[in-house]
């Protein structure tokens, strides 16, 4: 490549990159700092002396303690985790089977079905939540985690299906044919040969589905009413504000703790997540 002069490199590369990194990560930093700052520091007036605008000399864990002891936050964490795992499992199950059928099997209406699964993705939850609320109630699922576990797959399955479809298409057909000659039924070949090979794809789809479930808000807001049944996003929004007063320290502590599980899972599987993200777009 053409050799660039040093100053060019700094102006066109290092500085913009640094700005991006700072801009992207600052809100998290601020979240963190707020969570460990004592209330006195948080709520001081502007004109007060402020020697440490961006860090604190008296870090405190009070906000975290209050959060865990005085609210049902731990319960929310568990709820969210349980619901995310269950919906991911269901979506992977359906996505695996459907993805295989659409990628490998010939049957009438294959194209139409594939398209209709695509079309369901275009119907956003914010369009369906009103009629769904009614349906959930009539199934007596209101205010239970099952309301979410059964509805989250509606936006997770199309995504998992495409991702896995694309993945299956890269596996050579001869492998299944050989397995069928060796003695497996079509179903057996799918189970014993194709699925084990597709594990990276399954992981990608699973990670992506997990983070998407954790992030969901409107269904959780509408279908859950008891405080102890809520998920983290809904709980933080609705329960940590008492009488119009925002307890920012606690709020940020909650936001931080609520983000960490997902961020942790993500950090172990970054490559898989990125593959999932880019794979779904390609198609």
């Amino acid at each position: 490549m053409v050799i660039e002069r040093r100053w060019k490199k700094w102006v066109y590369f290092y500085i913009p990159l640094t700005l991006f990194v700072i801009g992207t990560l600052f809100p998290f930093y601020w979240m963190f700092i707020t969570a460990i700052r004592p209330d006195a520091e948080l709520y001081r007036s502007w004109r007060a002396v402020n020697n440490t605008p961006f860090w604190t000399l008296a870090p405190t864990l009070d906000h975290f303690k209050d959060l865990l002891a005085k609210t049902t936050f731990p319960q929310w964490l568990w709820n969210t985790f349980f619901i995310a795992c269950a919906s991911t499992a269901i979506s992977l199950f359906c996505g695996l089977l459907a993805g295989y059928a659409l990628a490998r099997l010939k049957f009438p209406m294959a194209g139409a079905l594939g398209t209709s699964i695509f079309v369901t993705y275009l119907v956003p939850p914010t369009l369906l939540f009103i009629p769904l609320a009614d349906i959930i109630r009539s199934f007596a699922l209101g205010n239970t985690p099952w309301a979410l576990i059964l509805t989250y797959p509606t936006f997770l399955i199309p995504f998992c299906t495409w991702l896995l479809m694309g993945y299956f298409k890269t596996i050579p057909k001869e492998l299944e044919e050989c397995a069928r000659i060796d003695g497996a039924t079509r179903f057996g070949a799918m189970l014993r040969i194709i699925f084990p090979i597709a594990v990276p794809g399954i992981l990608s789809a699973g990670i992506f589905a997990f983070t998407l479930s954790w992030n969901e808000f409107i269904y959780a807001l509408v279908f859950l009413s008891s405080p102890e049944k809520k998920t983290v996003p809904v709980g933080v929004v609705s329960e940590l504000i008492r009488g119009d007063i925002y307890f920012w320290g606690q709020l940020m502590a909650g936001a931080l703790l609520g983000s960490i599980p997902v961020a942790l899972v993500y950090s172990f599987f970054v490559e898989y997540y990125v593959t999932g993200l880019t794979g779904s777009v390609k198609g």
Binding site: V21, W46, P124, R186, S259
Partner: protein
């Protein structure tokens, strides 16, 4: 053995295809292509049918009725839609949603593309940077939006403090207490949140472009900007298009961000279609009217996707 006539006149009587074997009830679906496909697709079709198709139809029916909570309504035709259209708050919300989606998408695309180009080089710590850049997208929107809300706080905003100390302003900026400012703040947060999605996907697209093309172009005398427009951008168009459409669908139907950031206020000036539908349908309990409001999203989404499909098809030929 028949001696064939070379090239031959095909005197073929093609018999009807052989009957597919039914070797004992249980075994057939494991082997038969059509039966197996039916079985494999059943769970998906059931779930999606029950929780998308059925509610969708119900939603349309609701929108055409006067149902409210605890009160089964009757068919009222297009009255709810008419009412929404006459409602000034709704018109504001519709305009807001369009404004919000348009600007956010433009910013996300530009910044995302820029970041993708930067990340396409090799440098120390690249993997770490790339992984951390996705955090805004990973972390639940509601939680990170709260952090932004704190950063925009009327009294304690750190941003105001910085600008003040930097000498840029003398009075606090009314970030969330003014309608216009509020929308721009929302656009900023949405950009912050969605830009990584663009960046990472475009980066993957960039990595499929053969570097030889760039070398050939610079040998031909093209500088960086030219190279981007003539070589990179045309090859990236398909991926960009798909990403943009996904993003438009998500942004147009967005709910969480505004709900947390402003709640639709002040004075209903920052509502989006989705948040207003919630306010009318759930908070106020007017289910029919709320459903009608949310249905207004459908035509826009439909047109966007249709345009994308057409453009993609043209690109492919």
């Amino acid at each position: 053995m028949k001696k064939p006539i070379a090239g031959g006149s095909a005197r073929v009587e093609v018999l009807a295809p052989p009957r597919t074997a039914r070797r004992g009830g249980g075994g057939a679906w494991l082997e038969n292509e059509r039966l197996l496909a039916a079985m494999l697709l059943t769970p998906t079709v059931l779930l999606l049918g029950l929780f998308i198709a059925y509610p969708f139809v119900m939603g349309v029916w609701l929108a055409l009725s006067s149902t409210s909570v605890g009160n089964v309504g009757e068919f009222v035709g297009l009255r709810n839609f008419q009412k929404a259209w006459d409602d000034s708050i709704f018109r504001t919300a519709f305009w807001n949603t369009t404004w919000y989606t348009a600007w956010a998408t433009v910013f996300k695309l530009t910044l995302g593309m820029w970041l993708a180009l930067l990340l396409n080089r090799n440098f120390r710590g690249k993997r770490l940077v790339r992984a951390s850049m996705l955090l805004p997208f990973i972390v639940p929107t509601v939680l990170s939006t709260f952090a932004w809300r704190w950063m925009f706080d009327p009294t304690f905003s750190v941003l105001n403090w910085l600008l003040f100390r930097g000498g840029f302003i003398t009075n606090k900026l009314p970030f969330l207490s003014d309608g216009a400012y509020g929308m721009w703040c929302a656009i900023a947060v949405n950009t912050w949140r969605g830009m990584p999605f663009f960046a990472i996907t475009l980066l993957a697209g960039l990595q499929t472009i053969n570097p030889d093309l760039h070398e050939a172009a610079s040998l031909d005398g093209a500088n960086g900007w030219h190279r981007f427009w003539k070589v990179t951008w045309p090859l990236l168009k398909p991926v960009t298009l798909v990403v943009v459409v996904f993003s438009i669908i998500q942004t147009f139907s967005d709910f969480q961000l505004i709900y947390v950031l402003t709640g639709g206020g002040p004075a209903n000036s920052t509502h989006l279609i989705a948040t207003y539908a919630y306010q009318v349908g759930v908070a106020t309990g007017l289910l029919g009217e709320g459903a009608a409001i949310s249905l207004f999203m459908l035509p826009v989404l439909f047109v966007v996707v249709w345009l994308q499909l057409r453009y993609l098809r043209r690109l492919e030929t």
